[in-house]
Each structure stands twice: as structure tokens, then as C-alpha cells.
């Protein structure tokens, strides 16, 4: 079976490298010879772990995420069959989900490919046109399109013939439309950055791209969690704005919109390819003019005195600063930010009843919400843009690593548990009274700390010391872990709801949770320290790879 697949793959590759496709590339101003040279280079770099940040080059990650989409798509497919919905309605819904997924993923991936192009610096002096480089660099996005489209649409498409108004040609038609839409979305996402490069200075591109990446999730969050009625008001306003268009016949409107979209995409793509390699260096060193402030941190001093001296302080300050500044970390955390803000808005929008009131209060979710975020942060923490700086820790004595881990823990505990709870305390005290707010704060801190203890166990080495690996945390283990975590947090929130019917029970729970957090933290810190040691040990041996002979040709 795999032999046949290999033969098909080889045949497709022969066609793609043949004269017909070369002529097509040439018509777009792409040099076919250099295009394939670059494609082979990127493939080689990716298989040798040099370009792990590119999701589209990670076939394992793509397959796993497609499997997840396939699993989720069973819901609309089954729903359509059971309810005997019209085939085009189900296909339309799945297509919309596919489009949203693609926009969210491709905006982020295109940004990572274009705005943080480390290898572009090595190639910028070579005689490669911008069109050739960007085409080769972005071709991997088509892999994402393929796997996402197939993942979401295959099952519903196969089910459409058995739905109302469904025909036997529907599956093929559905997949074709979805694939075309996917390719158009990919081109559109790339063109956005092309347009952005014309209006935003190169050194600001990193920040601008982060803003762009947040838009789809922000829109989703706003509609999902905005106060009741506001979504309807937005729809009504949009309807008023679009009202004049209703008088225009559809055969005129559709080509007009299509034409505008094609024109914008073309201008964007042309703009992207025009002088991309010249701008690459300025983009990579985006924050060149940024300066930092010298502040003698009181917290750093406290950490030094209480948790293991200067080394602990080093861990505390290092993580605190890098969380705010590291491009990869910020980029990946950004996806969570709108959801966090949205959930907070939703909580406060629901009135935020006191936790001891008989009904379910949104306050019961707060400790678990913080714990959830912390856990995700811990998963992301080992990966950073400047992972090659990890050599510095090779020179640190092993004795110091435990205290460094303690500093990292303190930094996370303060930033994600203490600060939010202290900020929320005055509001809670005003709404519920000082005693209730104080009790809740203590409970919240203790409960969130338990999450952190488990979070520490998933930090696989020196924070920001590894190259981003979408194959590991974006799809496979990460996806399964997220689902389990959501169930755990919901179950914990449920238990908390029952617990808060008795003040005594809550008091006992605070003591028990605090003690558990203390002992679990000690246990987890050992594990974190071991992970750091293992990471450093493998880093020090990495150079052995340079003597590993690679296949020629």
C-alpha cells in the first residue's frame, strides 16, 4: 500500500517539477529552478530540526490535527443525517468552520514564516527574487490547507448524499469547493502581510502581525461572550449598512466582490514579493530600538531573600522578562488572550453572585480559569525565539538549577495567581463583603496553586530554551491534554460549587489545599529540576550531530 502511495507521490512530484508547472511558475515571476532548490532546502532543514516552527512542514502534527478535525466533524455530519437537514446547509456550516479554522491558523503561520524569517538572513545576499523566495517559503501553507480541508470536510461530504436534497456528486463538489476556498484564504492571508509591509515600518512588523493574528479570535470571542443583545445589535447595524446592496442584482454583486477580493489579494501578493528579502533583516530584528528600564525590583529582592538567593532571583527575573518579550511565546499565548478576556467579560457580565449564594456563581470558575491558563503557559514555556542562548545555563553549576527552578515557580505563581487575585480582591470585597472576599481569595490562591504544581511537571527544560515544535504541543499530545484539562477544570469547579454551601467546609478545604500545594510544589520542583538537567545534558551533546553523516544528494 505504502509502495503505491510512494509511486503516486513520485508521479505528482515529477509533474510538479516538469515543464508545465515550471511555465506556470514563470508566469508569476517565480524562477522554477531556484524555487525547487529552496523547497528542497526548507524540507531538508525541517527534517533536520532546523525549521521546527513551521506547522506546514510538520507532517505528523498536520495528520494529528486533521484527525482531531475529522473527529469533531462527526457532529455536523451525524446531526445532518439524524435531522435530515438539507445537504447544502450542512456543507455550508462545515465550510464556514473550515474557513474560520484556516484564517486563524494561516494568519499565525504566515506571520511566523514571513515576519520571523531567520533563514532569510542567510539567503538575502543570494540572487533570489522576492517572488521566488516568498512562494517557496509559503508553499507549506498549502499543506495546512489540504489537511484542514480534508479533516473538516471529508466526513460531512461523504454524508451529504444521504441528506435531504443530496446528490451523488455532492462529496466531490463539496471537497473541491472547500479546497478552492482554502487556497484562496491562504493567498488572502499572505496578501494581508504584503499590504501591511507597505504601511507598517519593518521594525514594527512583529507587533503589527501579532495584532492581526489576534483579530479572528477576538471577533469570535466578542460575539461569543459579549453581553446579551449586543451581538444582535451588531447584526442589525451591519444589515442597515448593507441595505443598499440588496437593491443590486446578485449577478452584478458577486463578480464585483470577487473582483475586489482578487484585486486586493493580487496587490498584497505583489507587494509581498517585491522587495521582501531586503526587508527581512529589519523585520527579524524588529524591536531594535526598544530599550528597557532599570528598576531595582523589590519583588526580585524578596525572592532572593526568601527562595534561594541570587540564582533564584535570576530565574524569577528571567522568566518575568522573557514572558513579556519573547516573540514565539507571545505569539502563541496571543491565541489565548482574547478567550481569557472574553471569559472574564462573560463572568462579570453574569452579575458575579457571591460564591456562598445558593446558585452557581461565575466566581466558582475563577481559580480553575487561572489554573487552566497557568497550565497552558507551562506547556508553552520551554519554547522561545532565542533558544540558542541556552548555552549560558550549561555553565551554571548543577547545584544552582534547583534554586533557578524555584525562581521560575515564584515568577509564575506571582504573575498568574497572586496578581490577578489581588487585583480582583477590592471588587469582590465591594460586592460580597470583606470576609467573603478574603475567604474566596484564600481558596482561589490555594486551588490555583495546585494547578501550578502540575504545570511545573510539563515544563520540559529551561524556559525559552527550545525551538518551537508544533508537532508536539499544537496537535497531538497538546490537543488530548487540553480536552482532559477542560474536563478536570469543569469537574473541579463543580466540586467547588458544592463545597461553598458550608463555610466550615471551605475553611477546611483552604487548609487542605494549601498543605497539598506546598508538598506538591516541592515534589514538582524536583521534577522540573530534573527536566532542566535532562534538557541541558541533551543540549551539550547536540554538537555530536555535526559528525553524523547525512545522505548526499
Amino acid at each position: 500500500m505504502s509502495e503505491i502511495l510512494d509511486q503516486i507521490k513520485a508521479a505528482i512530484e515529477r509533474q510538479l517539477r516538469g515543464p508545465a508547472f515550471s511555465n506556470l511558475l514563470k508566469s508569476f515571476g517565480i524562477d522554477p529552478r531556484r524555487y525547487w532548490l529552496l523547497m528542497d532546502l526548507f524540507h531538508k532543514l525541517s527534517t533536520r530540526d532546523e525549521m521546527q516552527g513551521q506547522f506546514g512542514l510538520q507532517s505528523h502534527a498536520l495528520r494529528v490535527s486533521a484527525a482531531w478535525f475529522f473527529l469533531f466533524s462527526a457532529a455536523p455530519a451525524a446531526g445532518g443525517l439524524i435531522l435530515q437537514a438539507r445537504a447544502w446547509v450542512v456543507a455550508g456550516i462545515v465550510l464556514a468552520i473550515t474557513a474560520f479554522t484556516l484564517i486563524a491558523v494561516l494568519l499565525s503561520e504566515a506571520a511566523n514564516s514571513l515576519v520571523n524569517p531567520e533563514e532569510a538572513l542567510a539567503l538575502s545576499h543570494q540572487p533570489i527574487t522576492g517572488a521566488t523566495y516568498t512562494a517557496a517559503k509559503l508553499s507549506h501553507l498549502l499543506n495546512i490547507v489540504f489537511y484542514t480541508v480534508v479533516g473538516w470536510n471529508l466526513l460531512p461530504a461523504l454524508a451529504t448524499p444521504f441528506m435531504k436534497d443530496g446528490g451523488w456528486s455532492y462529496p466531490l463538489l463539496d471537497l473541491l469547493i472547500a479546497m478552492t476556498l482554502g487556497v484562496l484564504i491562504a493567498l488572502f492571508c499572505c496578501s494581508i502581510y504584503g499590504l501591511l509591509m507597505r504601511v507598517v515600518p519593518a521594525r514594527r512588523m512583529k507587533s503589527a502581525s501579532q495584532f492581526i493574528q489576534a483579530i479572528p479570535i477576538a471577533i469570535f470571542t466578542l460575539f461569543r461572550f459579549a453581553p446579551r443583545g449586543s451581538s444582535a445589535r451588531v447584526y442589525r447595524s451591519l444589515a442597515v449598512v448593507a441595505a443598499p446592496l440588496q437593491t443590486v442584482p446578485w449577478w452584478l454583486l458577486a463578480p464585483a466582490f470577487g473582483g475586489i477580493a482578487i484585486a486586493v489579494t493580487t496587490i498584497g501578493l505583489r507587494s509581498l514579493s517585491a522587495d521582501y528579502l531586503i526587508r527581512a533583516s529589519a523585520m527579524v530584528h524588529g524591536a531594535s530600538n526598544a530599550t528597557t528600564r532599570v528598576r531595582r525590583s523589590l519583588l526580585g529582592e524578596i525572592v532572593r531573600r526568601l527562595f534561594g538567593g541570587q540564582v533564584s532571583r535570576a530565574g524569577f527575573d528571567y522568566v518575568k522578562r522573557m514572558m513579556l518579550r519573547d516573540w514565539q511565546f507571545r505569539r502563541r499565548l496571543l491565541g489565548l488572550m482574547p478567550m481569557m478576556i472574553g471569559m472574564l467579560l462573560g463572568m462579570f457580565g453574569s452579575g458575579l453572585a457571591a460564591p456562598f449564594s445558593q446558585g452557581f456563581s461565575a466566581a466558582h470558575l475563577i481559580p480553575h480559569f487561572l489554573g487552566f491558563i497557568l497550565y497552558v503557559v507551562c506547556i508553552l514555556l520551554p519554547y522561545g525565539t532565542d533558544y540558542k542562548g541556552v548555552w549560558l545555563f550549561l555553565l551554571v553549576s548543577d547545584r544552582a538549577l534547583g534554586r533557578f527552578a524555584q525562581g521560575v515557580h515564584t515568577s509564575l505563581w506571582l504573575a498568574f495567581i497572586m496578581v490577578p487575585n489581588v487585583v480582583l480582591f477590592p471588587l469582590f470585597a465591594w460586592r460580597w463583603g470583606f470576609a467573603t472576599a478574603g475567604g474566596f481569595l484564600l481558596f482561589s490562591v490555594a486551588a490555583s496553586s495546585i494547578y501550578l504544581t502540575f504545570g511545573l511537571r510539563v515544563i520540559e527544560g529551561i524556559p525559552f530554551g527550545k525551538q518551537t515544535q508544533p508537532g508536539r504541543d499544537s496537535a497531538g499530545q497538546g490537543g488530548a491534554r487540553m480536552v482532559i484539562l477542560i474536563f478536570v477544570t469543569l469537574a473541579a469547579a463543580g466540586i467547588q460549587y458544592v463545597l461553598f454551601r458550608s463555610v466550615i467546609a471551605v475553611a477546611i478545604a483552604i487548609v487542605v489545599l494549601s498543605a497539598a500545594a506546598y508538598f506538591l510544589t516541592r515534589w514538582s520542583l524536583h521534577s522540573f529540576e530534573a527536566a532542566i538537567r535532562h534538557h541541558l545534558s541533551s543540549t551539550s551533546q547536540t554538537s555530536t550531530m555535526i559528525y553524523t553523516e547525512v545522505e548526499s544528494g
Binding site: Q310, Y318, R321, G384, D386, K388
Partner: protein, 259 residues
Amino acid sequence: MTEPIVDVSNLVFRYGTTEVLHSISFHLNKGEIIGLLGPNGAGKSTTIKIIAGILSQTSGHVAVCGLSLPESAITVKERIGYVPEAAGLFESLSGQEFLELSGRLHDVEEETLQSRIKSVLERFGLTSDRLRRLEAYSKGMRQKILIGAALLHNPQLILLDEPLTGLDVDAQILVKDLIAALAKDGKTILYSSHILEVVERICDRVLIIHKGNLIADPSVQDLRDSTHQSNLEDVFRQLTHKEGSPESDMSGIIEKLRS
């Protein structure tokens, strides 16, 4: 005679099946500046990494300050300063923050650390740039930060792998003076470089490694005398160059380029 700061005997190192260092032996004494020379890929950086406790030798004995490696790597790391060649940095940190991180990781007291950082930044002319992120630093400025970071914990042994890379003339003079002053203060310095003129000028002794073998370990003067050459470059060429004159090699390349 005092115990050597670094004692290496019969050091062998293999990357997989490839033997990179073939049973080399040497020692470094207190207050000495020793040049480590050799063509690219000779095993210089590997030797330095083993002494720094970053790599473990395949066989042989390596001791730093009387402490055997890799068993006592923890203590050894507290006593060495290391400037790697072409090191990556955490670019979003500022120069000041990077130095603070490095010093704190070596447990230097805060007050002492701040005064040492101030001094390093002043001496290297980086005071006005100390709050800029490292991504904005030039190659030479980064190198200065790396050298500064290696000195903050006042190490006994300083391992310098191509420390003058990217430095301007003023900074090169400064680093050379600094090396001399450190040696005078009793520090031992192992200095790996391709700039033979500098090695000739500042080093007491040179170790020449060629294809993983230590082929010379005398003083610079002894080396010149024994090889009857007037400068270190000619000595180096005589000891490490393969058959055929350099001129004939180069003319071969030119021929190929013309073809």
C-alpha cells in the same frame, strides 16, 4: 612546583564513531596565558568545552583546579569563565539584564554584581547602550557582553574561544590589556584564536592541535627557535600545512574559477 590549574592527560574524545581528539596531554599553570592554535576542525573548541565541563571526555584524565572532570563539573563551573565562539544570546534581554542573569546564575552578591557590571560596561564603552536590547547590538558589542559575562564571578580559569571576533581595534587592544592584567592577577587564560599575531604577542605558551593531535606545546620563543622561523605564522604553516606550497593551492583554485 605548584599544582597546575588544568591537567589533561591522554584525553580522547569521540563523536559517535569519529575520534576528534587522540590522546592529548598538557597542563596549564597559574597565571599563564596559553594560546590554543589549530586549523578549523582541529578539535580546539571541543577541548575547551571538555575543560569547561560542557562535554565529557571519552577517556583520559582532565582536572581543573585539582578537581576531576566530569565528576566535579559542578564545582569546576563555579571557577571558570567561558567565552564561546559565535554564541546565541537571549536577544530580547538588554545588555544589563544579560549580565545580571549571568552573574546571578553564578550566585554573585547583588551589590558586588552591580558594581562589577558597572565597571565592565564602563570599560567596554557600553554604558549608554546598556538598556538597549541585545538584538540591536553589533557583533562587537555582543562579544564585549560575552567577555564581560565570563568575568563577573571572578573565575580562576578563563576560557576564551576566538574572543576578538567582531571587535574594533580599540576594543581588541582593551581585551588584550585585560587578558594581560587578568594573568598578572593570577588568573589562567586559555586563549583559542586564529589571529596568530595576537597569540604571539600575548601568550606565554602555545598548544598547537592538528587533526586531534597535540603537535606542539612549547613557549613561543622555543617554537620559533626549533622551527627556524621568524614568526608564528610561518611556524604554524610549517607544522600544519599539507604537502605542496600555499601558492600552488591557491593557483589551483583560481584556475578552477576561470574554467
